[in-house]
Symmetry: C2
Subunit: 458 residues, 2 copies
């Protein structure tokens, strides 16, 4: 019927056979016909008129039926966009499932706890007390905030459940904090290199972004102090535990001195702990040293559990909670409770803890293997990450990562060129890799070929 | 065990009986003990050490166990906050389930399609092709965007699926549009009265908000033209179909003249169609008249399907889609795909259409009954809404709605006083009611008593 509507063999307004007639004609049950008609109504190919049956939809129906038959294609990766932070976002999210993404910032679906998510969805569906339709309370699901208070406590961050505000992911958490802490024209410090989307997000807030070189043990403190004196920034945004993109870990002494500098210069800090659960050896948290005075901790479960149900959080000093919640409600009317419930159930039933144990071992193997293969390809690791999926590697002298990425994209491989992560744009010779996305020989074959092509000017 | 940890009968660091020992001691299966221990680990009361069993958690564990036993309380409604748009948001979201909310803007859970949501969750959980863990593609789930294109077409709004951007709800849709269309200091027009959260959201964007009186057939055009000339606003934000809070419907001739004024004064319009599916007689859409040139349509399923899985959309002119998507990704890294999948499944299987037929009839009955009972209580309806749940009613002369609301709140009834919806603050004698939340006699008893108390100064 869809075909006949699309080709206009059935014209707009035409009445289609009754459910009974169609059921007899096709030799299927009436309920099958009802379901098929319902689908066509939902797709817009048919219209139902109460008491008088089903009709071919007028305006738009045919176009829609045509559209639906070809709707499963995905747009091809675009080559003509400037290679900037949003380029990497789009390439990572847009590209079709056949493309390889050795530079992207998340785990392959097969590495994520899909069966546990399925089980939790079934548990929600059958729980008579599950809250399936209402708005969330202002701070978000109390049971999950209690869990998070406990988990933060494990990292030495003392936050009562009433200091924790749930959000629809880590990006939204940072966005709300920027709205609270920043005025247009303020200056914000980030690491160089840093998570590429910090730059895109901060640009939306109309602030000045300056950067400080990151070392394998944290930011370069001499450079940090110069930036504080010269630019008087209001806020520093960084990762704790495992740094993105380098995989580096902050040393306790650097954390201490950084916080002293922050106090002297009245700098606030947002510490994004999104990779907390990948950690094997506990790294210091700025929020733990500081006691949530000038540091705010944020995080999410998008990297270790699911990014299809977004759930993140802000842990902040008590007197900031009310204004943060007001902001959250003003711009979103609250976080999605279904996602919070899903995360809460996975945390409580023990599945997640066992899954993480396995994941860390799997990632450690993949990291070793990726480091070895990148070295064979002529790349040099900037540091050996203690844990996690990310690593930062330097191309042989003279090769431009953006050019290598362009060449690889033509072969269906999305690389992550260094300057996308660098505000100072001094990482042209680097690429970010994700060990969990690097197990296919095609990654290294394409990388080699792209490096050769980039080395030979056309 | 939780009790013993909370009272410190089991001290931090103490080893708890092995799974086998506990299983024998309690006469339950080992798997029951494993599950109980896992829960206590997840709650933070126990810690697991690989290979050496379970221990009482140190720091924080006892406090947590205590916290958990008292965690189901909800904070009492706060009386001391200024009665402004965020007051109503907080009162509506925060108050406990025993409170009545005759002024709130959504349906009671029992009126929403909870069984259909359960079925859709089960269907997702068992669908091997369901996307359970990945980030969404930049625009959002293609199948849902096709559905929305069709549904908008039913209202005469021609939008290709590629012109539709999914969001995590209607508020996020408006927030992204404000970021795209407005600069700090710009002026925005709203209706007087208007949806109260428009004011809170616009304040976050640091814009000037001016208002134009709303009539039962749309905005007062003479006043609109004066505002255009005097304030040169950039944007007008309004509801289509069924106006919030009045329940009024835009007349076609007003829509036409409004668009002419918008063109003459280069005004952009965001038309929030969140109540589309309540409509019984099709009202004109500004976006349909205008062809998405200077009008953007937004909407969501939070009012008719579920607010626990937030899913909204923007339908905009083709050349605005790329920058809007860049903004969405910068601040959120994409919408939650699980919510989009849930909405899509409910739309496709016909449940939603049948549910809406029943809901409209139920609302029409409730509206008639509420109008009758409010009239008995001495209130006057501003207009008789053609459909939907909202109505706007005037108190007898001299009564202040904020005062009546304060009195009612003391009795556990959350009213919605008029000035919360009025930028000009000229609706002190009005209240918004929601017919679906007004079926309990206590609503009218409390209202009567609150009116009497408000009429008698203390």
């Amino acid at each position: 019927m869809r075909e006949r509507i699309a080709t206009r063999a059935l014209a707009g307004g035409a009445r289609v056979p009754s459910i009974r007639a169609m059921s007899e004609q096709m030799g299927v049950s009436k309920s099958t016909v009802v379901e098929a008609y319902e689908r066509l109504v939902a797709e817009g190919a048919l219209a139902a008129r109460r008491g008088s049956g089903f009709f071919v939809a007028g305006h738009g129906g045919a176009a829609l039926a045509r559209g639906l038959s070809g709707m499963h294609g995905t747009p091809a990766p675009k080559l003509d966009r400037e290679i900037d932070p949003l380029w990497l976002t789009r390439q990572s999210l847009e590209t079709d499932s056949r493309a390889l993404r050795p530079g992207c910032g998340w785990l392959p679906a097969a590495w994520l706890p899909q069966d546990a998510v399925r089980r939790a969805l079934r548990a929600i569906a059958r729980d008579p007390r599950a809250q399936l339709t209402d708005y969330a309370t202002p701070l978000g699901l109390p049971a999950l905030r209690h869990q998070l208070a406990w988990r933060l406590g494990q990292h030495g961050i003392e936050a009562a459940p009433e200091q924790i505000v749930l959000t629809d992911g880590g990006s939204q958490a940072l966005d709300i904090l920027c709205r609270f802490l920043l005025e247009p024209g303020d200056t914000v410090v980030v690491d160089d290199p840093c998570y590429f989307n910090f730059q895109a997000l901060l640009r939306v807030h109309r602030v000045q972004v300056v950067s400080v070189p990151y070392t394998p043990t944290g930011p370069d403190l001499a450079a940090f102090e110069r930036v504080l004196k010269e630019h008087r920034p209001r806020l520093y945004v960084t990762n704790s535990a495992i740094h993105n993109p380098t995989g580096a870990t902050l040393a306790p002494a650097i954390a201490h001195r950084l916080l002293k500098l922050a106090e002297e210069h009245d700098l606030l800090i947002v510490e994004d702990d999104i990779f907390a659960d990948f950690e094997t050896d506990p790294a210091p948290r700025l929020a733990a040293f500081d006691g949530l005075a000038r540091v705010v901790a944020i995080g999410s479960f998008s990297k270790t559990m699911t990014a299809a149900a977004r759930c993140g959080y802000i842990a902040a000093r008590a007197d900031w909670v009310e204004p943060l919640v007001d902001l959250k409600l003003s711009v979103s009317f609250g976080n999605g409770e279904l996602a919070a419930d899903l995360v809460q159930r996975l945390l409580v039933d023990g599945t997640y803890r066992r899954y993480l144990d396995g994941l860390r071992a799997q990632l450690a193997d993949a990291m070793g293997e990726t480091l070895r293969r990148l070295a064979s390809a002529g790349l040099t690791a900037w540091t050996r990450p203690q844990a996690g999926m990310l690593l930062w590697a330097q191309l042989p002298d003279g090769l431009d990562a953006a050019q290598v990425a362009r060449e690889a994209l033509a072969d269906g491989v999305v690389l992550a060129p260094g300057n996308v992560f660098s505000v100072a744009r001094n990482a042209a010779g680097f690429l970010r890799f994700n060990a969990s996305q690097c197990n296919r020989p095609k990654v290294y074959e394409t990388l080699q070929r792209a490096m050769e092509r980039a080395a030979t000017p056309a």
